[in-house]
């Protein structure tokens, strides 16, 4: 029997914007479909892991493991009305938690002093001027509970609304709003504890 790869590719391309279909195909073992899901979500998972670990190398390693685990368990995935990214974030969250646990066991030096990756389109000098302040803020953010870090990443890195964040985190919009407010209060207190002035820029 002759297999037509072009036809198969076309089949996946046709449903490019339908995540449910891609998930169905992926759960049936279609690697092309999983590849499409990977391309769609790799940036956000990489960002999440990077901001949670502060380490480019570990972010790469953990992102690969997130997708490996997702691929191995995609046949168990059931659509419960939450975005697929929520499932990926949960895997990422667990792997990052294990990573932090392993690190604390090994008693390694904290990775808070890592360089800030340059953001696309920004002048390098501007990055240099801001990096100390950014590092200080990132250190404080990384000391927050995982849930609060997740919220900040979804809000500022992913630019999601409270409703979208709620769908991913399994909380109501009001609960997200409340958690966000408490997170800002905690940040303000920690910034003032470190004598970082919030009022002047």
């Amino acid at each position: 029997m002759c297999v037509n790869p072009a036809g198969r590719t076309r089949r996946v391309q046709e449903i490019e914007f339908n995540e449910e279909e891609l998930l169905l195909l992926a759960s049936q073992g279609d690697r092309d479909a999983f590849g499409r899901l990977y391309e769609r979500h790799v940036d956000r998972i990489f960002n999440y892991v990077y901001y949670r670990t502060g380490n480019l190398h570990d972010a790469e390693d953990l992102t690969a493991r997130v997708f490996q685990r997702a691929m191995n368990h995609i046949h168990n995935y059931t659509d419960r009305g939450v975005p697929f990214s929520a499932w990926l974030y949960r895997i990422a969250h667990n792997l990052v938690a294990n990573w932090h646990r392993d690190r604390s066991r090994k008693q390694e030096i904290p990775l808070d002093d890592l360089p800030i990756l340059p953001v696309k389109g920004e002048h390098p000098e501007k990055n240099l001027v801001r990096s100390q302040e950014q590092e200080a803020l990132l250190k404080i953010i990384r000391r927050l509970p995982a849930e609060r870090q997740h919220l900040l990443i979804l809000k500022f890195v992913e630019n999601l609304s409270n409703a979208e964040i709620g769908a991913i985190m399994g909380r109501s919009e009001g609960a997200v709003k409340s958690l966000y407010h408490r997170t800002l209060l905690a940040l303000r207190d920690q910034l003032s504890d470190q004598n970082i002035n919030l009022e002047g820029d």
Partner: protein, 90 residues
């Protein structure tokens, strides 16, 4: 004396804090090199390799079947010769 900490944020402070967060937590575009490396690690394009492995299995199955059939023919012929030789010698 412990400093009292309010549970509300004035608008100015809120916007200043949000601006700082927005300036710090920016989306990072992983390089195409990283994305490709991850793709290779996860081993997505394995469909062709699976197909190759399957065709190898088919080949192996054919070879094994051929060897078994050949052995059956050899054994049958050997038995026939042995039978004929033993009849002659009787």
């Amino acid at each position: 004396m412990a400093r009292s900490k309010t549970t509300t944020l004035p608008d100015e402070l809120l916007s200043s804090l949000e601006a700082r967060l927005a300036g710090t937590l920016k989306p990072i575009q992983p390089s195409s090199d990283i994305v490709q490396r991850l793709r290779e690690r996860i081993h997505f394009p394995a469909r062709e390799q699976i197909a190759l492995r399957l065709s190898d299995w088919k080949k192996m199955f054919l070879v094994l079947g051929g060897v078994m059939s050949g052995m059956v023919v050899v054994i049958t012929l050997a038995r026939a010769f042995f039978y004929l030789w033993s009849r002659k010698s009787m």
